[in-house]
């Protein structure tokens, strides 16, 4: 089942940056890459729950601010030798509007 919700305008997210969606029990980080793709993952690093929304976004990856793990925004998986995974949500842009699927 899909449950697409509107998040906001693409412009509200900085290029190579992220904004946070708050839900009752966890936060979701929505990312915008240098090429204007959008991704959404649970805002908790698989390492020690660092807030990925606060990391540095490069390519389709984000580097966690706490201990430098790099997480793929496409799969939510830790890259390189680190292992772990955070939840991924489908995300898309339609006429300038960012949508994510809360499933």
């Amino acid at each position: 089942m899909s449950n697409w919700i509107e998040v906001g305008q693409l412009e509200e997210i900085p290029k190579q940056g992220s904004r946070v969606i708050k839900t009752n029990d966890f936060n979701i980080a929505v990312f915008r890459t240098v090429n204007d793709e959008v991704f959404a993952v649970k805002d908790a690093c698989p390492h020690k729950q660092g807030q990925l929304s606060q990391g540095i976004v490069h390519d389709k990856k984000v580097t966690c601010p706490l201990h430098n793990w790099t997480i793929s925004l496409e799969s939510g998986e830790a890259l390189g030798p680190d292992e772990g995974c955070t939840n991924v949500f489908m995300a898309k842009v339609e006429s300038g509007l960012v949508l994510i699927d809360l499933g």
Binding site: V7, G8, Q16, N35, D59, T63, H67
Partner: protein, 810 residues
């Protein structure tokens, strides 16, 4: 259609090129590899430990057969190429296999030289080059008693030692009277011979082999002086010759080796060559470190990326015989134009000789204790002027104070000693990763263990562990690229930024052909800093290339909340300020209020959304950001000085406030701290600060390059000044540091890297430069001195940083 790349010679240099190429351009070529050995690629260097029974063949495999399959590389293992047809662009192997190429890489290594004495072709006469040779030697240790090694060089001694470990009687025959005469002088050569004799090795020095005798199989050796010995096996280890037969046959220009240019191309530009078979600018090499340098350039060129050139290498040697430590590098013999420093202690078996020319280290031989080898080697390669440390040079780096690599203890350290405090990595983990994952470089160790991936203060130790685990296989990087997105060093990038007037990160990446579209955190943060420090008037700041702390103007804590630390000028505060802080703490239910080490008050556990509100309240009370979160000027610590203290000589507090007013809100390569003490009792600890002032009766002592962090370093005294010139010196010193140091390099390692006298020349001896740097500092400060808190609390800057984009209830 992809282009076809064919590689001949499945060995260390060739396969390393393929691996590098796959890293940077994974889909560029269809790759085919020919190797005449029937295995994957293995670490040839470690054949010696295999022979000595310290490792197995499986341990030393670098690329297994499966690896080739996983990477879609066609491997013809056990097939020898005997023809290259440059017109048809094909290679043909002995069994008739034909492969076409668009580009060809020849990496055929070298061949052991076999002295053509009568009997050299008898059964039981071998070389020491590959797995097959090791098998024959191991076999001989089971069925025979006496082996002879001809050649007392590195390879010969490792072979002799290996067979001796299995209980064989081994004699080493050597032509001259010094062992390893290409790496050792006569003193260290003798010491080496003595220790090997103690282990049970026999020697025939100054002996020339005339004939190998025996009936079918070898049974003895006759020497030119008429004497002879009995032996069941002869290992010839008298040198190697670049393996150029195939290239020669194909009409490629060869001299001693296959002649290549600085991009490793032969005279046929479609054909590259790397490794021991190559002759570059007249030199051939027989150690892997220089080969790996070539490999990098070659891979980049094959990937049609980068503009790297190979310009030759300096090499160093270590002998891999357990229990014997020797190191040699460069020109260790010297001549009339050089000076020598020698330290010798025959009883404890220590010998050190350094050769200097024009105040630079050009050669070194160490015997018995080689832990300083890496450091000397680094000094040689960087060509650093050593006049400042001349008197201590011979004792080694650990005697220079502990802020550098400080590492005499690596070998004696136990496996559970913690090396990287940030990520909790122990020595054993690192050694394990190096050996089991086949790591060669610092970056690889970082990726696999995270050691030295965070604060970096343990980098020196990790490099030493690499060194001691890999032996001379480890290349001490001379000029490291900023990160894996580029081949350019920090210096090259800064120079380009200045000369080509690059004012944004994107310009830099474009102008220097970055390999990635938008970089990685390491280069993004460095470049953002570099463009701004060079072009403070015009450069674009890129907030997305700053670490979160500098974007949020607060320090992220481990639970994702932040801390707030307002500035307290020169460590002074007032009842009003304290009241405002107290009010804020109550109003926003701040969990912890803490006195920081820099004489200020920190509020901990603040939610990000609340930050602008707190800042507003603090601004209203006249307070501004303390930049406690940035690579920036942090604080000026002071004592109460002449104002109150009976020992005080000057008004240290007032000077501290003035210095803080001068320097606040300046971005730096790393954090930067100042202090002013009112007398030499130094209550403000000015001698462990980046810039410290100690007041004396006659004026002010200025100190630089101190650090109280992980590795404590006391400052160097820069100079004494009588009056308030302090300001000018301070501004100039800071600006020089800002424009010269690498990003994330604190003043302490920076001072050691470039040498104190360099800074003295710039800031003290050269008034013009001092004025120039100070002027640039003041110009930059004019733009920079805006309170970032105010801009965000009430000025409308970056509101998105502090608010969520949406709240949903599920």
């Amino acid at each position: 259609m992809k282009e076809k790349l064919v590689m001949i010679g499945n060995g260390m240099a060739g396969m390393r090129t393929i691996e590098e190429l796959l890293k940077i351009a994974p889909d560029m070529y269809d790759i085919t590899v020919f190797g005449d050995e029937p295995y994957g690629n293995y670490n040839r260097i470690l054949l010696s430990p295999v022979l000595a029974g310290e490792k197995t063949i499986d341990d030393i495999m670098l690329n297994t057969m499966d690896w080739y399959e996983e990477n879609n590389i066609k491997l013809h293992a056990g097939k020898r190429v005997n023809e290259i047809n440059r017109i048809a662009r094909t290679v043909i192997s002995e069994d008739g296999t034909v492969e076409e190429y668009d580009r060809l890489l020849i990496a055929t290594g070298s061949k052991p030289f076999i002295i053509p004495v009568p009997g050299h072709d008898k059964d039981g006469v071998i070389a020491f080059r590959d797995i097959n040779d090791v098998d024959i030697m191991l076999d001989a240790t089971k069925n025979h008693k006496h082996a002879t090694v001809i050649g007392g060089g590195l390879l010969g001694l490792e072979a002799a030692n290996g067979m001796m470990q299995h209980g064989m009687k081994v004699t080493v025959v050597h032509l001259v009277d010094t062992l390893m005469e290409r790496q050792m002088d006569s003193v260290s050569g003798k010491m080496l011979k003595n220790s090997l004799q103690e282990k049970g090795m026999d020697f025939r020095m100054e002996a020339q082999t005339a004939e190998i005798t025996g009936n079918g199989r070898v049974s003895g050796i006759k020497f030119a002086d008429g004497t002879s010995i009995e032996t069941d096996l002869v290992v010839m280890a008298v040198g190697i010759r670049p393996n150029i037969e195939l290239a020669q046959k194909a009409g490629l220009h060869c001299e001693r080796g296959i002649v290549v240019n600085d991009t490793l191309q032969t005279y046929d530009p479609r054909i590259y060559s790397v490794g021991e078979c190559v002759q570059h600018r007249g030199d051939t090499y027989g150690l892997v470190a220089p080969l790996f340098e070539m490999v990098k350039v070659c891979a980049n060129h094959l990937a049609q990326m980068g503009i790297g050139l190979y310009e030759g290498s300096v090499t160093s040697t270590k002998l891999k015989v357990t229990g014997i430590d020797l190191f040699s590098a460069g020109d260790f013999i010297g001549d009339e134009s050089t000076e020598e420093m020698v330290m010798q202690d025959a009883t404890s078996g220590l010998y050190k000789k350094l050769v200097l020319k024009d105040n630079k280290l050009i050669g070194a031989v160490l015997y018995g204790d080689t832990k300083e080898g890496a450091w000397y080697f680094q000094l040689m390669r960087s060509g650093q002027d050593i006049s400042d440390m001349r008197d201590k040079l011979l004792f080694g780096e650990s005697h220079l104070g502990d802020s550098g690599h400080g590492g005499d203890h690596i070998l004696t350290m136990s496996d559970d000693t913690e090396i990287c405090g940030c990520n909790g990595v122990c020595k054993g983990d690192i050694v394990q990763a190096i050996t089991s994952e086949g790591l060669f470089t610092l970056d690889e160790v970082r990726a696999h263990t995270k050691a030295s991936a965070s604060c970096g203060s343990c980098t020196g130790l990790v490099e030493q562990i690499l060194e001691s685990t890999l032996g001379s296989d480890y290349e001490t990087p001379e000029a490291k690229p900023i990160c894996q997105c580029t081949d350019h060093t920090h210096e090259e990038v800064r120079e380009a930024i200045r000369e080509r007037k690059l004012t944004s990160i994107n310009d830099v990446r474009r102008s220097l052909n970055w390999k990635t579209q938008d970089g990685c955190p390491a280069c993004r943060m460095s470049l953002n800093y570099y463009v701004q420090s060079a072009w403070h008037n015009e450069a674009q700041d890129d907030p997305q290339s700053r670490f979160i702390n500098e974007r949020a103007h607060a320090n992220i804590q481990k639970d994702g909340r932040y801390s707030v630390i307002p500035r307290m000028w020169g460590g002074m505060t007032t009842p009003d300020e304290l009241r405002a802080i107290a009010n804020v703490a109550e109003k926003y239910e701040i969990k912890d209020v803490h006195l920081t080490g820099g004489q200020r008050i920190g509020l901990y556990g603040v939610e990000k959304e609340v930050l602008p509100k707190i800042w507003k309240d603090l601004n209203d009370a006249g307070m501004v950001s303390g930049h406690a979160y940035g690579k920036a000027m942090r604080t000026v610590k002071t004592c109460v000085g002449k104002q109150w203290c009976r020992f005080g000589t000057q008004d240290s507090t007032a000077l501290g406030i003035k210095l803080e007013e001068l320097t606040w809100a300046s971005w730096m390569p790393h954090k930067f701290k100042l202090a002013v003490s009112g007398c030499p009792r130094n209550c403000a600890e000015a001698t462990i600060k980046d810039f410290g002032v100690v007041c004396v009766d006659s004026g002010y002592e200025l100190h630089i390059g101190g650090n109280g962090g992980i590795k404590v370093r006391a400052t160097d005294l820069l100079c004494n000044v009588a009056t308030e010139e302090v300001m000018e010196y301070c501004g100039a010193f800071i600006q020089y540091y800002r424009e010269d140091a690498h990003y994330l390099e604190r003043t302490a390692p920076w001072v050691e890297r470039i040498g104190f006298s360099q800074i003295e020349d710039m800031i003290v001896k050269n008034e013009e430069k001092r004025k120039y740097y100070n002027k640039r500092f003041l110009e930059a400060q004019k733009i920079s001195q805006v309170d970032p808190w105010k801009e965000r609390a009430t000025g409308g800057v970056a509101p998105h940083e502090f608010a969520s984009i949406k709240v949903v209830s599920l």
